[in-house]
Homo-oligomer: 411 residues x 2
C-alpha cells in the first residue's frame, strides 16, 4: 500500500450519544499513536460537514497535545463535543460543484484522511464522498465510524453508544420498579422508551431478569404488532398477580394497520388552535387503561437522558467506542477507504474485534431486533436477548467530579 | 430522665426518595450503638402505619445482625425498602378507638420507641400520636424524621432526600444542556421539574452557574407569578442571544389568577371521551412557543427519576440522612418525644447539627423558596440560592454494582 502523507479531519454528525466523544478521543489517540508517520495533524470540524464547508476547523493536535487528562475528560462528556449537524449530501452525479467545493477545502488544508462519526446519514456521507473520490484525482481516504443509541445499523454486532443508553435504561428501570413497589394500591406505570424503528432500547429495560434485578411486566416492541385489546388483557392479568404493574413500551409500536399507536389521531384530541395533540404512546396507553380498567395509572418518558446520561455510561461501551475510533485511524493509515467500522463479537467469552465493511453496503438500512429476541406472545423479550445484552452494560467508569457535577470538556 | 426499656419500631411513609433508606439505615445503626441499653429489638413496619395495623412487622435486629455490608446496600437502595403508605391519621379526640387499637399493638410487641420517616403527613402522624399519648398511660416515645425531595418542610435547613434529588437534576440538566448545544438550528427545550408548591427542585437546575457548568436560560418557579407574555418575550430574547434555548419550569407555576399553568383547561384540549387533557406545564408552554414563535420546540419531564435515581445520590445527603436517623434514636433514648428531627446549618464552613422541634409546630406547613433566592424578574434564581445549594450536592458514593446494575437490598 502506497503511503499517504497529510492531515486528517474528524467530524461528528447526527444525534448525540454518551459515547460519541469517546470515539473522538479514540481517533485522537490513533493519530497520536501514528506519531506523524502518515498523519501530520488532526483537525476537528465544528458541526460536521456544515462546519467543514465554512472551514470552521479546530486544530485538535494542538488542543490535546499529549495530554491524557483532557482525553479522559472528553470521554466522560456527553453529546457531540465538536457539535453536530443533520445534513444529507447530494448525490455526486447530481451536484459535482458541491463536491468540488469540498475537495478544494481538503486541498487547502492538505486533508488526506476523513473520519466521520455518526449514524445512518453519516455513513451515507462516507459512501457518497467515496463514490465521488473514485471519479476524482484527489487522493483521500474516508472512513465512517458508527454511533447511535438506537443500535439499528447494519453490519455491526452492536453500535457504539448503545451500551451506555441501554445501561441508563436498565438502571433507571430498576429504580422505577423499586419506586413503584412501595405502595399496595393497584397502579399501572407505563414507561415510554426511545426507538422509532427498532426495539433495542426498549428491550434493554428487561435485562434485570438475568442480572439479579427486577423487570417490567411487559415489554412492547416495534417489531411486534401492537393490539390494544391484547394490551389491556395483559395489564388486567398482571394486576391479578400483583398491585404494581410496570410496562415498558417503545415510542415506535404500531397497530396491524401500520399506524403508530402514539399518533395524535389515536386520542382524537385537538387543542384550541385545532392542532392534533401528539400525545405519545405512553399517554395514549395511559388513557386507554384509565378508560378500560379504571385503576391508578401514569405514564412517563425517559426522554433525552437516554442519549446523554454520560454519568452512567457503560465502561464497556466507552472502551469499545474509543477502540473503534482508534482502529479507524489504523485502518486508514494501512490503506482502507470507503469503509465503515464495525464491532464483531467472537464466540465464547465476550470480546469484540474491530472490522470494516464497504460504506455503500451499510448506509440506509435499519437493523431490527433479531426474531429470536422477541417473545412469541409479542409482549416481552427473550432470555436470549438479555444474555446478548448483558456484556454491553458492564462496568462503570470512575468520573471526575468538580463541585458535585461531572466535569465536561468543551472546545 | 427515667430510663425506658423496650422495643422500637420504625416505618417509612409518603413518596420515595433516594435517601429514605439511608435514614432507615441510620436508625438501625443508632439501635446497634445503643447496644440494648434502652432498645432491645428494632421492628420495621411494612407499608408504614398500615402495616403496623396489620401487625406486618419485620425483625430488623435479626435481619441486619451486625452486618455493615447489608446496611451499605440499604443506603444505596432507592425508594422505601420497608414499603410506604399514604394514610392520614384521625384526630385523637374524634377516633379514640383507632388509637386504642394502635396502643394494643404497641403493648403486644412491647414497643416503647416509635420512629416515623416521612414528609408532612408523617410528621402529622407523630403529632397526633403524641397528642394521644399525652392522654394515655402507655409510655412511649415518638419521633418524626423528615424526608422529602421537595425540601418544603418547616423547621429544617433542608430535608434529607432533597440533596440527592437536587444533584440528579443538576447533573441531568448539565447533560441536557450539552445535548441541546450540538446543533446550530434555533430550538427551545423546556424541562418540566417536580415541585407543586415550592421551587426548590426546579431551582437546582441552575446550580451549574456557580459550579463551573452551564445553566438554563430561564427558571420559572411557583414562588413567582407566571405571565405567558413575559415568558414568550423571555424566550425571544434568549433566541436573539443564541440558538439553543433551555428553560426549566416547575410543574407548580401559576398565573396571577392562581390557576396552574399546567391545568388541562389551559389548552382547551379534550380527548374523544371528553376528558380534559392534563397536558402538564411543559406541554402547554411547548405549544405556546410553537404558536407564537414558531421555532423548533420540545418539552420533557424528568419525572420519577428525580425521586428515585439512587445511582446519583449526593454523598452529603446520604451521610446526613443516615446521621439524622441515628440522632433520632439517640434523642429518643435520652428522653425526647413528640419531636421532629431537623438539620441545622451552622455559620462558616458547611456543617450540620441534628436538632429537634415539636412535631405540632412542623406538620402541615409548606416552606417556600426564600425571597432572596428568587431573582426579582421572576424568571431566575439568584447566586445566593446556588451558593446555598452547592454543599448539599457534594460527593458521590462508590456504589456496589453486580452484572452492570447497582445492587438493591430487599426485605
Amino acid at each position: 500500500m502506497k503511503q499517504l502523507l497529510g492531515n486528517a479531519v474528524v467530524g461528528q454528525s447526527g444525534g448525540p450519544t454518551a459515547a460519541i466523544n469517546a470515539t473522538l478521543a479514540g481517533v485522537v489517540r490513533g493519530v497520536l499513536e501514528d506519531n506523524g508517520k502518515n498523519i501530520a495533524k488532526l483537525y476537528g470540524m465544528k458541526n460536521g460537514i456544515e462546519g467543514l464547508l465554512r472551514e470552521d476547523l479546530i486544530d485538535l493536535s494542538a488542543f490535546f497535545g499529549t495530554s491524557v487528562e483532557k482525553l479522559r475528560l472528553l470521554e466522560q462528556t456527553p453529546a457531540a463535543a465538536l457539535g453536530s449537524c443533520r445534513m444529507k449530501l447530494p448525490k455526486p452525479q447530481e451536484d459535482r460543484a458541491f463536491y468540488d467545493r469540498l475537495i478544494a477545502i481538503f486541498k487547502k488544508y492538505d486533508i488526506r484522511y476523513f473520519f466521520y462519526i455518526g449514524g445512518n446519514d453519516s455513513m451515507d456521507t462516507v459512501a457518497k464522498l467515496t463514490a465521488y473520490l473514485e471519479t476524482s484525482d484527489y487522493e483521500m481516504r474516508a472512513i465512517g465510524i458508527p454511533k447511535t443509541i438506537d443500535n439499528d445499523l447494519l453490519g455491526t454486532d452492536h453500535t457504539p453508544g448503545y451500551g451506555s443508553a441501554a445501561k441508563y435504561i436498565a438502571v433507571t428501570m430498576q429504580e422505577i420498579l423499586r419506586d413503584c413497589a412501595v405502595y399496595r394500591i393497584p397502579a399501572v406505570t407505563i414507561v415510554e422508551l426511545m426507538g422509532r424503528d427498532a426495539g433495542w432500547l426498549t428491550a434493554a429495560s428487561a435485562v434485570g431478569r438475568v442480572a439479579g434485578g427486577l423487570e417490567p411486566d411487559y415489554v412492547y416492541l416495534p417489531e411486534c404488532v401492537f393490539d390494544l385489546d391484547q394490551f389491556l388483557a395483559d395489564v388486567k392479568a398482571a394486576l391479578a398477580r400483583h398491585p404494581n404493574v410496570v410496562i415498558a413500551v417503545s415510542e415506535g409500536v404500531r397497530f396491524a394497520s401500520g399506524r403508530y399507536v402514539g399518533e395524535g389521531s389515536q386520542s382524537g384530541a385537538t387543542d384550541k388552535f385545532g392542532h392534533a395533540y401528539l400525545a405519545g404512546v405512553g399517554k395514549v396507553l395511559e388513557y386507554a387503561v384509565r378508560d378500560s380498567i379504571g385503576c391508578k395509572v401514569r405514564s412517563l418518558e425517559l426522554s433525552l437522558p437516554q442519549r446523554c446520561a454520560a454519568h452512567l455510561a457503560s465502561d464497556t461501551d466507552l472502551t469499545e467506542s474509543a477502540g473503534v475510533g482508534k482502529a479507524a485511524v489504523s485502518a486508514a493509515c494501512s490503506g482502507v477507504s470507503g469503509e465503515v467500522m464495525a464491532l464483531c463479537r467472537g464466540e465464547g467469552d465476550y470480546a469484540v474485534t474491530y472490522q470494516h465493511h464497504p460504506a455503500s453496503s451499510i448506509a440506509n438500512g435499519v437493523r431490527k431486533l433479531n426474531a429470536e429476541f422477541c417473545a412469541p406472545e409479542g409482549n416481552q423479550v427473550t432470555d436470549a436477548f438479555c444474555q446478548w445484552l448483558l456484556p454491553l452494560i458492564q462496568g462503570e467508569r470512575e468520573l471526575i467530579f468538580q463541585n458535585g457535577l461531572p466535569v465536561h470538556l468543551t472546545f
